[in-house]
Structure formats: C-alpha cells, structure tokens
C-alpha cells in the first residue's frame, strides 16, 4: 500500500518504485544473514501485515514474501 516503512527500515533488502510501492510482491526472497534484524523490523512495522518471515530451525528469518496486489 506504499506506507514506505519496509524499504525504509531494510534498505539493504527491499527497495521502492517511483510511486513508493515496494518492488517485490507475491514473491519469496532470501534474507541474507546480515539482514535478519532489518527483516524482522520491516515485517513487524508494516501496518498492512503484508510481510511474512519464514524461519529456519534456529528461528532466524530466511525468506520474506511481501504480499499484496499490484497497483
């Protein structure tokens, strides 16, 4: 919905388009080890709850699919 929180909090993981929507949608992306904390923050801050983190057995986030319809 273009709140802009996710890519602002996790700029090494997510980016936005010219309209301010996150560029990946209905996709699963891998979370590099050094982006785990940023991914947690991005997922927890989205007001639309559009990001789900899939975790490994150590509960570390390994991938994140932002959901939502394309504009």
């Amino acid at each position: 919905m273009g709140h802009g929180r996710c890519y602002q909090l996790a700029p090494g993981l997510l980016t936005c388009d010219d309209e301010g929507y996150v560029t990946i949608r209905d996709q699963v992306i891998d979370v590099p080890d050094d982006q785990g904390a940023a991914a947690e923050e991005a997922a927890g801050t989205c007001p639309e709850e559009a990001i789900t983190l899939l975790r490994d057995r150590a509960h570390r986030p390994v991938s994140a699919p932002p959901r939502g319809p394309a504009p």
């Binding site: 919905m1 709140h3 936005c16 010219d18 309209e19 923050e41 007001p47 639309e48 709850e49």
Partner: protein, 413 residues
Amino acid sequence: MDRASEPATAASRNLDGCPVMHGDFSRIRQAGSHWQWADQLREDSPLYFNTYAQGYWIFTRHDAVRDMYKNPQIFSSESITPWEPEPIYRFVPTQIDEPDHITYRRIVNAWFSPRAVDRAQPEIRGICRALVQKVAPAGGCDFVADFALRYPTAMFLRFIGLDTADTDQFVAWVEDFFGGFSGDPAGLEPMARALDGIRQYWITVLDQRRGEPAPRDGDLASHLMHARFSGSPLTDAEILDMLTVLVLAGLDTTRGQLGYLFRHLATHPDDRAALIADPRLIPSAVEESLRFYTIIFGDGRKVTRDVEFHGARLKKGDMVYGLVSGANRDPRAYERAGEFILDRKHNHHFGFAGGPHRCLGAHLARREMQIGVEEWLRLIPDFRIATDEELAERGGGSMMTLMTLPLAWDVAR
C-alpha cells in the same frame, strides 16, 4: 439543524447487546482528553453504537480498525464522516472507491513518492531553517500559529510549483476552513468563504495554464491538466477537487502533528537530550508521535452490504467509525502501549490510515517533521511551555490540533 436532538435509530436496530453511547466528538476540549476518552472507550468495549446524528457504529480496537482498512470493498469511502453519510462535497480521490480510486491515485503517486521527497529535501530544509532562524531571536512564539502551519504551507506551495508569496493567504484559508469544519456554527460562514477562496485561486491557476502544449516542470496543476484518466483528460471539476483536497488534507494535519510532537519535546527534556545526542533517533520519534498522538481521532466508512463484522451485524448503508487513535494505543497490539517510547520497534501504527487510501502525503509529512525537529533543536535545543493555563485541542470531528502552543526559550545575549 441540531443533529444532537434528532431521534436516534438505536431503538429500531437489534444491537445484540452492544453498548450504546451518545458522543459528540467535535467540541474543543482540554489537550490530551480526546485520547484519554479513546483509551477508556476501547478498554470498556470493542464496539459501540453512537446515537449522535443518524447513529453509527464505533470499533475501538486495533484488530477491527485493521480489518476495516483491509476491506475497502465492504467499507466504502463514499463518506468518511459518520455523522454525515451524504456529504455535499466529494473529495477526489479521497471519497472515490475502486476501481476508479487507484486510477486517480496513480496520477499523483509519483509526485508525492519517497524519491520525490528526497529530491525536495534541500528545499524542505531551506524553508524550515529560515523559519527557525526568524523565530529563534524572539525567545518565544506560539508554535502552532507561527511555525507549525506556516512551515508545511510554504513547503507545500514550493512542492507543487507555486509561489510561496501566497503562504499567508493559504494559512488564513486553512484556519478559516477548519474553524468551521468541526461544526461550530460561528465558523460556518468563514469556512464557506475560505472554500470559495481556495477554489477561485485554483481556477485562476488553471486559467493561466490552459492550452499550454506541455506540462510545466515541477508544476502539479499543469501536470494534472496534461494527465489522463483511462485515456481521457481530467475534467476541470476533477482537477479542482484534487487540488482542493490536497490543501485541506495536507496543511492542517501536518500543523496538528507538529504541535503535539513539540508539546511532547517541550515537556520531556530527556527525550530532547536523546535526540540531540543521536539525531538518528529522530525518524523513530516522529513515528512514535504519529502513533501516540494520532491526530485522526477516528476514520469513517460507509458499509456496502449486510455483513457481520467483529461482533456487529452491519447493514448496507450503515456508517462506521474506526477509532484509529484508540487502535494506535491498543495494548493488544503494542507493548507498553500507553508510553511514548522514542526508539519503539515494530511501530506498525495507522497514523496515516491503512489500505489504498493511505495518506498520499505521508512521505512528505514525515520528512517535514524529521527536518523540523532537526532544525529546531539545532538552534533552540532547550524550550518549555510558556503558560500555566491548560492547553486546548480542537475536536475529533476533523483532524485534531492544539489550538495554541506557547513556547519559550532563553536567548543568548
């Protein structure tokens, strides 16, 4: 017409035992009392039927407000004022539903995007710094009148490509419009005159640009005149509606939010010190003020079909009010919800609403507030509230704001 005396429809509805209240949210009250009221309503019940006006439902908790925003196909924006289900105005695209809504929205999204705000950042800082430099030597000011409205208004005019010399005029119109919007009968005539003044201003702007072969660079009115809605140009009426809502939605709001943020900073020296020591915390402080001092007291929607929703049996045509400020302080959704935490994590607040109507100006407003704090603290690191009198706030019928915020600080001699 005195809405408060119309017979309520509560008696004719089966409310399934939900609590009934009669609340007029529009009056001026003591600062902070609206949120106290929201907290109390929320903790007492997730749902009310308010018998004010024609009667409408109030959802007080985070889960229901979240779901209201997530379901625009059920909760139409045709009216966003639950005490007025058939407004005489039609803000575009605020009161337009899908599929047309997103089509309008995409015409302006890029203009207000994070990238556009990044490009405008030097100008935001320049305008802000000049205003702080003007105010600082006085040792005091009414923050709401002298800074909080003037700064976003000057920036707004620059951002859409108009002359900042018109700032004073817009400040007066915004004051007059919102003086009447909350329902005060004495304010209705100035409000109507302000609305007319704003529209005449835009008509002149459009006439100056009519027939030009290409859009003027950095000029939003010109951009709209060359834009296409599903292949056709926008009508003058649509352009006027869009420009008018930008003025009304974008200036008073930022004024209100800045006021509450600075009232907090004036009364919390520890938080001020933390921001001076580490300015990287400023964005987080701005987010927390959006959550904890939510100027959208609540957000109205009109129900499009009979549906059961969070314990209420809604009927098509019903008005609902999501108590956004209550939801933002809901302990079911936030740890230590009743505290202002400068570096709060997972701050998924609805201060800019949610769903497709999420505030278009959010990125600009955020940057204005962040830079506002930076530039103010740079020149005026210590300041206090300069009165012992209780501050007052305008009601939740429109966007909330402090009526005044007298600040004072020591000036080096």
